[in-house]
Each structure stands twice: as structure tokens, then as C-alpha cells.
């Protein structure tokens, strides 16, 4: 299903295809015409994607076909070994974690996993973890710390799951604890928001030395729908809420919430998964390398300072 604003792009692409087929069929040379249309297509894509509204970016961040954590685990890391379970209650499929190599270096990876189709989405609970998922993440942090391995987290969740069992098992408690444990890491930690960074459920695995975000990913204190339901008393005002929340990559860069934006291929990550994964991999290689020389105390202190200093206020006394 194309996104509403992708329709003109898809139409033009179809037209070019049609023309190619026609040229082949009739054995005539339409190279010039096709070339012109392709240029127009490039311009159209660029115009569309350079000028997306915040609400449109929310849609891109959630688009079907967008690379998920698993795509990165398979494409950006070599020899990834998935490790399961929280050693207390179970294994949360909304979090995939394990060890693999990023270039030459072994790293521990924690990813929030949405499904790639309806069936997987149900299995993965749409990327919404239960406390068990955060416990698994914390176990990975401990493993990384013990064996001096850098940590990479891939953030993509609408939020921590709001359900009865999740509350009974201390959803708030494990998120708080995960924030604390990640802030205490004595090894490099890099987070990438690859899709949706949904509130505390995202931050729980986002307390890194460097926080990256894909160009069309979002990171927000609350979903636009919930925000609209509360402040406008109408979830249908989500578009307004998305504007107000300043939740896009470049908004967050301005606010200092993220450190770097990774450009997506033109047309969005869902149009070219391989290229997106390659770009994230390159960025991760650079970022991890830049942190490798730092000592454990310096890493901890840099991370602590980074989050301690966030916020805007003025002194009046």
C-alpha cells in the first residue's frame, strides 16, 4: 500500500515502466522520452520527500516495508547470534538481541522488532515489549559490560506495551531500571532510531553515548494520536499533534536529543532497504570507532553528561 503522498510518484514510475514495455514491444527508441520522465521522477521524489510534513514523516516511519531491526541484524552485522530469554519469565519476541560482528569488532546488539507482515506483527506484538523484553535487554548490557563489547541498540517501537500483564510485571520499573543500567555501561553504546521511537519504551534502550536517527524516523514523548486524544480530545487531530510535537529527525537534532541524522535513500527507507542498511552500517562503524579509544570512566561520564544536560529552562532567581 503506497502512502497517500506517494501516489504521484508511483503513477509516474508505472508510466515509465509502461513506456519501456511499449518501446520493447514495438521495437522503437524512446530513450529520450524515458530519460526525461526519469529526470522528472527524480525531481518529483526529491520535491516530495524534501518537503514532507511531520505527519507524513510519521507515516514513512511506520510504513510497511521499512527495514526492521532484523533487516539490520542480518545485513549490517556478520555472524549474528541471537540470544533469547530474560532468565525470569520468558522470551519477548518484540526484542531481538545477541552478539555479532560489526566490521572487525564484536558487538552486542539489542533491537526492537516490529513484524514484516501481519503474522509476524502479531508474533512481535507490533514491536511493543513487555517487561521481559527490557529484562532481556538489560541482560545484554551486563554481557557487554563484562566482556568489554560495544553495545548497539536499534530503536523501533510504538511504545512499551500497555497491558494488564505488563503492568503487573512492573513495566515502569523495568524501563526505569533499563535506563539506569544503560547509563552505567562502561563500554561504548550507540543507538539508532530506525523507525518509531515511542516514548519511555524507546528511551529504555536509548541511553547511549551517541544517538543516531534515520532521516524519516521519529522520536516522541507520546504518539501523535494519543497526544491529540488528550490535548485536542480527538485522536483525529493527530496531524496537528505531530506538527506540535516536533518529532522529526531534524527537529530532534535541533533540540539536542539526537546527535546525527542518517540520510535515507530518496523515496524513503522502505523503497531501498539494502541501501538504508548499508548507510546505517557505515554510520555505526564510524560512531563505534570514534568511541573505542575512550576509557570506561570517560564513556560513562560522557553519556551521563549528555543526558544530564538535556532540557530548556532559564534561571530567574
Amino acid at each position: 500500500m503506497p502512502l497517500p503522498f506517494e501516489k504521484p510518484i508511483d503513477d509516474l514510475e508505472a508510466k515509465i515502466e509502461e513506456m519501456r514495455a511499449y518501446a520493447a514491444e514495438q521495437d522503437i527508441d524512446l530513450t529520450d522520452e524515458i530519460g526525461r520522465l526519469e529526470q522528472r521522477l527524480e525531481r518529483l521524489k526529491r520535491d516530495t520527500f524534501d518537503n514532507l510534513t511531520r505527519w507524513q514523516r510519521v507515516q514513512v516511519a511506520r510504513a510497511a516495508g521499512r527495514p526492521t531491526a532484523m533487516d539490520y541484524l542480518q545485513g549490517a552485522f556478520e555472524g549474528f547470534n541471537e540470544l533469547h530469554g530474560d532468565r525470569t519469565l520468558g522470551d519477548d519476541p518484540a526484542v531481538v538481541a545477541g552478539i555479532g560482528r560489526l566490521g572487525e569488532r564484536s558487538v552486542v546488539v539489542v533491537g526492537q522488532q516490529k513484524g514484516r507482515d501481519t503474522k509476524e506483527n502479531i508474533h512481535r506484538n507490533f514491536g511493543m515489549s513487555h517487561p521481559s523484553g527490557y529484562r532481556k535487554a538489560m541482560r545484554m548490557f551486563d554481557l557487554a559490560d563484562k566482556f568489554r563489547l560495544p553495545v548497539v541498540t536499534l530503536i523501533d517501537t510504538p511504545g512499551a506495551y500497555p497491558g494488564i500483564a505488563a503492568e503487573e510485571q512492573g513495566q515502569a520499573w523495568v524501563i526505569a531500571e533499563s535506563i539506569r543500567r544503560m547509563s552505567r555501561l562502561t563500554v561504548p553504546a550507540v543507538s539508532v532510531i530506525i523507525g518509531e521511537g515511542g516514548s519511555g519504551g524507546a528511551l529504555a534502550v536509548g541511553v547511549a553515548n551517541r544517538v543516531l536517527i534515520l532521516e524519516n524516523a521519529i522520536y516522541s514523548v507520546i504518539s501523535p494520536e494519543s497526544c491529540a486524544a488528550i490535548l485536542w480530545r480527538d485522536a483525529a487531530e493527530a496531524e496537528k499533534a505531530a506538527e506540535a510535537l516536533r518529532l522529526t529527525a531534524y527537529d530532534l537534532l535541533d533540540l539536542g536529543v539526537v546527535d546525527r541524522v542518517v540520510d535515507e535513500p530518496i523515496g524513503g527507507a522502505h523503497k531501498d532497504r539494502e541501501e538504508t542498511v548499508r548507510r546505517v552500517r557505515d554510520a555505526l562503524l564510524e560512531e563505534v570507532a570514534s568511541l573505542i579509544g575512550m576509557g570506561s570512566a570517560a564513556l560513562q561520564e560522557q553519556r551521563r553528561r549528555r543526558f544530564r544536560d538535556l532540557g530548556r529552562f532559564r534561571e530567574v532567581a
Binding site: 515502569a172 526505569a176 547509563s183 516514548s199 510535537l245 533540540l255
Partner: protein, 298 residues
Amino acid sequence: MALERWFRRNRPTRKEDDNAPAGLWLKCEACNAQIYRKDLVANAYVCPECGHHYRMPVEARVELLADEGTFELWSGGLQAEDPLGFVDTQAYPERLEKNQEKHGRPDAVLSGSALLGGQRVALVVMDFLFLGGSMGSVVGEEIARAAERAAEEGRALVIVTASGGARMQEGALSLMQMAKTTVALEALARARLPYLSILSDPTTGGVTASFATLGDVIFAEPGALVSFAGPRVIQQTIKQELPEGFQRSEFLLEKGMLDDVVPRKELKERVAAIIGLLRSGAAAVPDERKEATRAAAL
């Protein structure tokens, strides 16, 4: 700036400062008993008939916990900004200003130093009436500073929470206050100073999912709603009735999430006792590793 003066003005308690029904006489929402409002106030906003805990104004909370005449205000010197230019049905700066005027403080938190049952503490009390006790940059910063100053001055930290969660109007910066407050608590941990978290009604969202649940000891008041997601959100998600007492403190005690549910009238005594017990350890069983590190550093 007049912000601190608002607090010093010591306004009389207004009827909207708690969630008890207005009027000279009121009917208790829990037991239906007719209670004289003055008796309710004198009883720390606890129904004299059934023990139902009403929400409590911040100043009364300070009075309840701090030894008489020992509270010294720390907070009040910070003013929120409008980093997003946030407008919903009202602009954020207007909303803020109205709340500042109405509640007499610059934001949804109050902090200061005090003796609490003889124990030296930093006392932080959140104000649910001020924009739902929501945590934006100022609330986060005041809490972080209180934790750090407590560590510097060798005080235990006591926080009484009451909050709807992170403040939407400051967007992701509010979210980041969860991490900010959490890392600020490390100063206390390093100094081996106790942090007691007291959860009062209601404590939800990003506050529950950060400093509120990181106390060395966590108490909650009877009947307090304590949750990550609010009951309405959960109901909308799962489309079924929630179990009786779900997300109330007694329920959470049963689930192993709290150290105890403590009635308001016992709170001061219990908190002071815990702090005393925890702090006596350092003298009795010195940490040789810590001493060794210090010696090596010298």
C-alpha cells in the same frame, strides 16, 4: 523575579488544592460519611471515618514530613521555556502562566532541605495540580539538582511523587528528563546515601518509569494509582474490564513492586526509621574497597 515570593506568600489553602469535595461539610467519596472539612484537613486529608486518602496540597505535605521550622526552600529559581512553540487549544506559555498564578509556584515541583524525624534530608514534593504534575525540563532539573545537592550535603533524598507523566508540551525534551533524573540519582548512589521514593496518587507514565521507581526503598500511600500506562489507555488497547484494584498500591504491593503501603499518618516515622537504619551501616561496616580506592587516589 517574583516566583519565590509566591511561595513565601504562604497563601491559605484553597478549595481546589486537594481533590476533596468543596464546602464546609462534605460527603466522603469512599464511605459516604459526612465529614467536617476542618477535620479532614486536620487529619492530613485522610477521612477520619474510613481512612480514605485524598490528594494533599504540596505545602501541607511539607508540613507533614518536615520537622517544624526546618524546611528551607531550594527550588523556584527556574522558569520553563517553550522550546517547541507548542500550541494546542492554548499556547504552552499561557497555560504555564495560568498555572503559575493559580498555584503560586513556577512549576510542578517543590524542593528543599529539612530535618525529617531528625534525619537530614532533601525533600522533593511534586504538585499534581500544576499541569498534572507533568515533568518537563524544569521539573527534571529541579529533581536532578535536589539529588546532586543532597549528595553534596550528605543528605538522604525523599521524593513524594504525583504526576501524570512527561509533559507533552516540551516534546522529546520531556522524555529526556527521565534519563536526566535517573543519571542524577547516581550521585547519591556513589555517596551511599538513601533515596526513598513515596508514591502518592496518582503517579503514572514517565515519572513512574524513571526516578519514582528507582528508590532504594519505595513506599506508596494507600489506594494510590501507580502505573506506566493509565487505566483508560489499557482499557482502550485490550478492550476488556480491568481487574478490581488494578494498579492501586495494595495491588502493586502484592505483585512485589513496592516495599510497603504506608498510611499517611505513619509516613514520617517510617521514612525516618528507614533512613536511620540504612545510614547506620556505613559506620558499622566500612567499605574497604572504597577506602582502598581513596587511598590509592591520595
